[in-house]
């Protein structure tokens, strides 16, 4: 800090005293909009000035004539000759260059700067690009339009990443800033139509101002605001999206016919006998129940054959799809107004979304926003904004994945409705033949009806999100501005789940507890069971900041520094109420203390007690400084430093103040005389280095315990370990080096930027296998790992044709490669490296997610057994192949599970009011593991794979298939070996058509009688699917959990 002050003071000393002051203002021709970041250069003197937000600039000018060269992106350059001293205000009007690129202003959350004056690496998503897709939320529009941003969907929720991985076990999601502060609420609360632009801060110079939270990159969402001296603008926007039915491709199983035959076989082997006799009365599939009835003489063999033949004709996916899915749609309406006088600017937005999913779930969101900026005096400006989001949702019919039994999947022939459309019971927790005989008619129907169950257990949620912001800025002295910014956010989420008396959950619980001893008593009373949850998030942010900007002859200095406090508090409570009468809302209290005999097993059970209170507080205290100095508009040096402290456990002692910093430089080489060439009219080089952090509250340095419940017997609270003492635990650090170049040709019609980066993540907390004799489980977290990522981002924008047909293309490409530099790897056991796609591999020199497989020697021609290798010899000894003695050296390494090359190509064509845009995305250079047949889970949990029909059945089949033969009893290591062998590895490469949009603009210029400025009609199709893929299994490597559904949207927009 001291250094900066010194530097500042030195610079102030340089100011020359003899010159005359020239004051001027640059505005846009026609609209009189003040123009910021316009460069005014005096040719002979080689001095220049830049306009501020109000379009104002000042010069120190000697007497005499001067030639001013005025240039700005998006405007035609102008030359003006004036004589100094100049009386009054010099007003310069610039004519927009319609076909040129617009100037890009990037927002870091702390300041807004012209991209071409920043040393850092930013990606900027313009409003037009952002709006090419139509969606309810903000984040889903970013993939494919933002270079360096990718989504890893190997987990159900998926995670957004900026420039790949920076952490191993910690949270990977980038920091999301809404205007000035991190947004703590649910990001889906934000209406995308209120978003102006999105900026992605990629390197250290861009992101390290955010300190210990910026390690994963930062996404800054800038919402719309009014501006001074602007006519009132009204925008009305309405969209309807129609969404295709989900295809359920993620459910992959054997066919009904195959499964019935298999069950017949297993039945003949006595496989189901112990299940039949189990005291837990676990359910058996309909076919097995039929076979039992036939065996016991309750039905004839003929009846059995007829019924089994019928089951064979069924298909669970079709059955489900036909009875559960209805047309899904999303509706979106919004109106916005904005305008501004000379002292005030304002913006009003209101939006309403209404969605209905294929399962009939409702979602609605109402957004309101007011934003006002008032210039009280020349020095004092006050801004107030208020954002309101009200979100309600209600669940719909039972989702496919939630229809489960207590011992595996549903059989592939499951039916959900009968011929008349009445709901049918499916297997669930107990054998129906058992529960139907229990209780002598005193129990409620114990069957599970998926068709109606979802409706009978509605869960609703109501959320209210308030975000208010007060901004105060005061110009202390010329160039020195103090700003104070306070933001308050409160998000209330009230959710409840009502298990109606007709829901399976309630009936099951009531029945289990029913006591029949002469009289019938029900410890769980008749009536609905209701879970209520209230969660309140309160965030207070306060920031004080000093900005200093000054322009000397050749030097432009801009420094900001300040401090901020942030406190995010979450409180929650939940409760369960039993025996609710839905009409009177009276409830009955239950006995959670004493045990009851389960009517099924006779063992002691307790009525679930779920009342809980939670409290979470995260506090941050930070100071920061950031500055840039520019010489002659050509050379820029920048630096930033930040210290963070937080109350996160453990971190308190070992890393209370964690300093993070960055430095950067840029050089406009095309302005150097010795490099001036026609071939490269604009070229700028950037170089930055710095570090940011990654903190994870889950990892603490002490043994921590968490209180999780009440011991039913002692009635005392009990606690379990949530973290084991590890005194050496530190925050993770991410160091990024970035070398970039920005180039432009042909009057800016073609622009390109290239960035090469090296990102080293140090002190990463990694799971480390540990001898469990230690008593703390099988893995322990240590600051043991280091990874590095190298990458190359390229972005090219071009205006291909510029006549009546305007055709623009934007192309980007990211090369990415990560590797493990250091990892505490104590186990070289092969089984740790083959497990699925989603395990971190600790092999130094190889990618973080590396795909390995057991070596595959094909199927045994005699019996269809899969074959691997033991000590180089072909072997079927699966226990050894997959056992503890097999090491990584026995495996084949394929490559990374993360794409090496990703990117997108977007095209936009405009002709006579028509516009067409489409975007193609691609991912190359990676591998994934498909699911294969697992006979153990097929037999025990009814979970197979459609490749069962391609299994080896007779000698010769091994020529055409790699699917092992079915054997009984199954050998789980044989299944493991096959599933983790080379036979199930596929290349992930694919090309996808992300979206197409076609629109027509009726503009006032074209249609004179139009009472609007313009009306736009658009049709947009999203998620159109894969154009090309490398695998032949028709798998979507990008969506292993559930494929995205095609969406068709119609959009109508009026601008007044």
């Amino acid at each position: 800090m001291k250094k900066y002050i010194l530097l500042m003071l030195m610079c102030i000393g340089i100011i020359s005293t003899k010159a005359q002051t020239l004051k001027g203002k640059v505005i846009e021709a026609g609209t009189s909009k003040p123009l910021q970041n316009i460069n005014i250069k005096i040719d002979k003197l080689n001095i220049s000035a830049i306009t501020n937000e109000q379009g104002d600039f000042t010069f120190a000018l000697k007497k005499g004539e001067a030639l001013l060269e005025i240039t700005g992106i998006g405007y035609l350059s102008q030359i003006k000759i004036i004589s100094s001293p100049y009386n009054g205000l010099l007003t310069i009007e610039l004519v927009p260059a319609i076909n040129q690129l617009e100037e890009v202003i990037v927002n870091t959350g702390y300041q807004k700067i012209a991209k071409e004056r920043a040393t850092g690496s930013f990606s900027h998503i313009s409003n037009e690009t952002f709006n090419q897709q139509i969606s309810t939320d903000v984040m889903s529009r970013l993939e494919g339009v933002a270079p360096a941003l990718s989504v890893d969907r190997r987990t159900l929720s998926g995670s957004i990443m900026v420039r790949g991985l920076s952490t191993l076990t910690g949270d990977r999601s980038p920091l999301i800033i809404l205007d000035e502060f991190p947004y703590a609420g649910d990001i889906t609360n934000i209406n995308p139509n209120d978003v102006e632009t999105v900026t992605i801060l990629k390197d250290a110079a861009a992101a390290s101002i955010w300190g210990a939270k910026a390690g994963n990159g930062v996404i800054v969402i800038t919402t719309k605001k009014g501006s001074y001296n602007k006519k009132i603008q009204i925008n009305v926007n309405a969209s309807t999206s129609i969404i295709e039915k989900p295809n359920l491709n993620e459910y992959n199983n054997v066919s009904a016919a195959e499964y019935v035959d298999l069950e017949k076989f297993l039945f003949s082997k006595g496989y189901y006998t112990s299940q039949e006799n189990s005291t837990a009365k676990i359910p058996l599939s309909p076919a097995v129940e039929l076979m039992i009835s036939a065996r016991d003489g309750k039905i004839t063999q003929e009846q059995l054959q007829v019924q089994l033949a019928f089951l064979k004709t069924q298909d669970i996916k079709n059955n489900y799809s036909n009875s559960f899915f209805k047309q899904a749609f999303n509706n979106q309406y919004n109106v916005s107004l904005k305008g501004g006088g000379s002292n005030m600017s304002w913006y009003v937005f209101t939006g309403y979304d209404q969605n209905k999913s294929a399962l009939g779930a409702d979602y609605s969101r109402l957004n309101l926003k007011l934003d006002n900026t008032i210039k009280l005096t020349n020095k004092l400006e006050i801004g107030i904004s208020l954002l309101l989001g009200k979100i309600s949702s209600k669940s719909g019919r039972t989702s496919f994945s939630s229809i489960t039994t207590n011992n595996g999947s549903l059989p592939p022939y499951t039916q959900f409705v009968d011929d008349l459309g009445n709901p049918l019971a499916v297997m669930k927790t107990y054998r129906s033949s058992f529960v139907s005989t229990l209780g002598g008619g005193n129990l409620l129907d114990w069957n599970y009806y998926p068709l109606t169950d979802g409706i009978n257990m509605p869960s609703t949620s109501a959320k209210l999100d308030i975000l208010s912001n007060l901004r105060l800025s005061y110009t202390l002295l010329k160039g020195l501005k103090l700003s104070l910014n306070y933001q308050y956010e409160k998000e209330n989420t009230n959710s409840n789940l009502v298990y109606g008396l007709d829901s399976y959950y309630t009936r099951n619980l009531i029945n289990q507890f029913t006591q029949i001893a002469g009289t019938v008593t029900r410890p769980v009373p008749l009536g609905s069971i209701r879970n209520d949850n209230l969660n309140v998030l309160t965030v207070n942010n306060i920031r004080g900041q000093l900005n200093y900007d000054h322009q000397w002859k050749d030097i432009n200095l801009s420094v900001l520094g300040g401090g901020e406090l942030r406190e995010a508090r979450t409180t929650g409570n939940g409760s369960t109420t039993y025996g609710i009468d839905e009409n009177t809302l009276r409830n009955v209290s239950v006995d959670n203390v004493n045990p009851y005999k389960s009517i099924v097993t006779g063992s002691n059970i307790y009525i679930p007690y779920n009342n809980n209170y939670d409290g979470l507080v995260n506090k941050y205290l930070s100071t920061f400084i950031n500055g840039a100095i520019n010489y002659k508009g050509k050379y820029t040096l920048s630096g930033s430093a930040r210290r963070d402290a937080s109350n996160l456990f453990g971190v308190a002692t070992n890393d209370l103040w964690n300093p993070l910093w960055s430095i950067g430089a840029s050089w406009l080489i095309s302005e150097e005389d010795f490099l001036k060439t026609k071939f490269l009219p604009y070229a700028r080089l950037r170089l930055t280095y710095g570090s940011s952090g990654n903190s994870d509250s889950k990892n603490a340095a002490f043994t921590t315990i968490s209180y999780t419940g009440t011991n039913a017997y002692t009635r005392t609270q009990y606690a379990g370990f949530s973290n084991y003492t590890n005194p050496n635990l530190k925050w993770e650090t991410v160091n990024t080096f970035n070398l970039g170049a920005d180039l432009r040709w042909f009057n800016n019609r073609l622009s390109a930027s290239f960035d090469y980066y090296v990102k080293k993540s140090l002190d990463l907390i990694g799971g480390d296998p540990i001898d469990y004799t230690g008593g703390v489980g099988f893995k322990i977290n240590r600051n043991a790992a280091e990874i590095s990522a190298r990458g190359f981002d390229m972005e090219i924008n071009s205006i291909n044709t510029n006549g009546a047909l305007k055709w623009t293309t934007s192309l980007f490409m990211n090369l990415y490669k990560d590797r493990v530099d250091k990892y505490y790897l104590t186990s070289a056991a092969a089984s740790t490296f083959v497990n699925g796609n989603n395990t971190i591999n600790g092999n130094i020199g190889l990618p973080v997610y590396a795909i390995y497989a057991y070596k595959w020697a094909g199927l045994n021609p005699q019996n269809g057994n899969p074959r691997g290798y033991v000590n180089g010899e072909i072997s079927e000894d699966y226990t050894t192949i997959t056992g503890a003695k097999a090491t990584i050296a026995d495996l084949t390494y394929f490559g990374t599970a993360f794409p090496k090359l990703t990117g997108a190509i977007g095209n936009s064509l405009k002709w006579n009011g028509f516009n067409l845009d489409f975007r193609i995305t691609y991912k190359f250079g990676y591998y994934f593991r498909r699911e294969g047949i697992d006979y153990t889970s097929l037999y025990s949990a009814r979970k197979g794979n459609e490749e069962y029909s391609h299994r080896w059945q007779q000698p010769g089949d091994e020529q055409n298939t790699s699917v092992p033969s079915a054997i009984y009893p199954s050998v789980s290591n044989r299944d493991n070996f096959y599933n983790f062998s080379e036979a199930t590895i596929l290349k992930g490469d694919h090309i996808r058509l992300q979206n197409i949009g076609l629109g027509y603009v009726f503009s006032k210029q074209a249609i004179k009688q139009l009472s609007f400025q313009n009306i736009t009609l658009r049709i947009v199709a999203n998620n159109l699917g894969i154009l090309w893929r490398s695998n032949t299994y028709r798998l979507d490597p990008d969506y292993p959990m559930a494929e995205p559904t095609k969406t068709f949207s119609f959009n109508l927009q009026f601008n007044l």
Partner: protein, 453 residues
């Protein structure tokens, strides 16, 4: 220029001031339910997590002992590790990671966490008893875990050989980075005895609930330990001490034999309640009690109907768990202590005293009025009788494996056989295989020597 400096320094000054006063701001803990375990309440809470403390006792011993069998079909439907442990294979008998070894040492770590820090708490008149109680509980649980482990993975205690025989690692601190080393069997038993003796001094006579250790529970555990060591004098002594505090016997005539689990959880005999986390192969739906054992019960013996469910196909399942469920009780109950004392007295030549304990117990196991007191004088016959009754009373309680080992040490010659698919598997008396193979992943990570066969 001066004005600049003034403003800048003012802001800096205010900023610094703010930071200092904000030290307190950062002191709040991030999660209200998180705590660094430092208080007695925290320690007790760790020991009250019943699912981790009392519901995870190892079952490998009972699985390997010969009191039950499974049908060929059920055997084939089981996982390979289950099949291997059932047939006494020499390796890969337990699933990786989540297994009995982990259960034992998880409990050890928890006890160590408390023993490591509890003495940092200052004692005052209000908390002295609570602190003693908690410390005693921790010693008890550590001893219990070590004892269960040594019975499963080490050879039987032997006066001489145990000085060199490899036992199980003794982890006595919370440093999980420490490399595991196998202590000798002697060291194991010394540690167990010392821990229990400490627990005895600290624990209350009557616990808040029988899920918590108490003085009688510690006496009982020590009696069990000495019996395994063949120290009958001490085993008798501590059985005495235990029964002096708690000697209730449950009259089986009051039970309803037709209910699915006639004996209730926490019945009056239970001194400390815990149960096994059984491997699936021993699950109640699969395990059939061997007929030899079932047939040894007299028709007047209530246990014949209370303990066994007739599957109506010539097979019998066990339903007499003191857990009141299909899960196997592995805690300590007075019936075991009566039998310990009876056996010790018989071995020490005190025949009438031995028989009086046996008669007192059996009287409550037979239909009222049908039991005739045994009145034998021959020491060998009495001992045989007591051992036979011990087996009949304490089946499926996790005790048989240790009993077979110690009885074979004294020459009982108990060989085990199992037949699957016509193939006979055989475990001869005193085989080294009576110490199970330590999980291979533990051996691989720690470099400890494996049991040799």
């Amino acid at each position: 220029m001066k004005t600049y400096f003034k403003y800048v320094s003012l802001v800096l000054f205010v900023g610094t001031l703010c930071c200092f006063s904000c030290k307190k701001f950062l002191d709040e803990k991030p999660d209200a339910s998180l705590a660094v375990p430092t208080t007695l309440k925290d320690f007790q809470a760790l020991l009250d997590q019943n699912a981790q403390i009392n519901e995870n006792d190892p079952s490998s011993g009972e699985v390997s002992a010969g009191e039950y069998y499974v049908t060929d079909a059920d055997f084939l439907a089981r996982t390979e590790t289950d099949q291997r442990i059932y047939t006494w294979q020499n390796d890969n008998v337990l699933p990786a990671l989540e297994n009995d070894w982990a259960y034992c040492y998880r409990l050890v770590y928890r006890a160590n966490t408390i023993l490591n820090d509890i003495d940092k708490i200052e004692v005052n008149s209000l908390n002295a008893l609570t602190k003693q109680d908690i410390k005693g509980q921790a010693f008890y649980h550590r001893a219990k875990a070590f004892l269960q482990a040594v019975v499963i993975w080490a050879p039987v205690y032997h006066q001489v050989n145990s000085n060199t025989d490899l036992g199980v690692p003794l982890r006595l601190n919370i440093n999980f980075n420490e490399i595991s080393v196998r202590a000798t069997v002697k060291e194991n038993y010394n540690q167990i005895v010392n821990d229990i003796k400490k627990a005895i001094r600290l624990l209350p006579e009557i616990p808040l609930h029988v899920v918590r250790p108490s003085k009688p529970a510690a006496y009982g555990l020590l009696s069990r330990t000495y019996l395994l060591m063949g120290d009958f004098e001490n085993a008798k002594l501590y059985a005495d001490s235990c029964l002096a505090i708690k000697s209730n016997l449950l009259d089986y005539n009051t039970l309803n034999a037709t209910s699915s689990f006639p004996i209730t959880q926490f019945n009056p005999e239970v001194i400390i309640a815990s149960r096994m986390f059984g491997l699936p192969i021993i699950g109640a739906s699969r395990a059939k009690i061997i007929l030899e054992l079932y047939n040894s019960y007299d028709v007047k013996d209530l246990r014949k109907t209370i303990y066994f469910k007739d599957n109506a196909n010539g097979t019998f399942s066990f339903k007499g768990s003191y857990d009141g469920s299909s899960l196997y009780f592995s805690g300590i109950a007075t019936d075991e202590i009566y039998l310990n004392r009876a056996e010790c007295n018989a071995r020490l030549g005190k025949i009438p005293t031995a028989l009086s304990d046996l008669n007192a117990l059996l009287k409550k196991r037979y239909k009222t009025g049908t039991y005739i007191d045994y009145n034998l004088t021959d020491q060998k016959a009495v001992l045989e009788l007591i051992l036979k009754e011990r087996r009949k009373q304490l089946l499926m309680r996790g005790l048989r494996w240790g009993d077979i080992k110690r009885l074979n040490r004294e020459g009982a010659g108990i060989n085990l056989t199992r037949i699957i698919n016509g193939k006979t598997y055989y475990l001869p008396a005193n085989s080294a295989r009576f110490a199970l193979p330590i999980p291979e992943d533990v051996i691989a990570l720690s470099g400890m020597p494996q049991n040799k066969y």
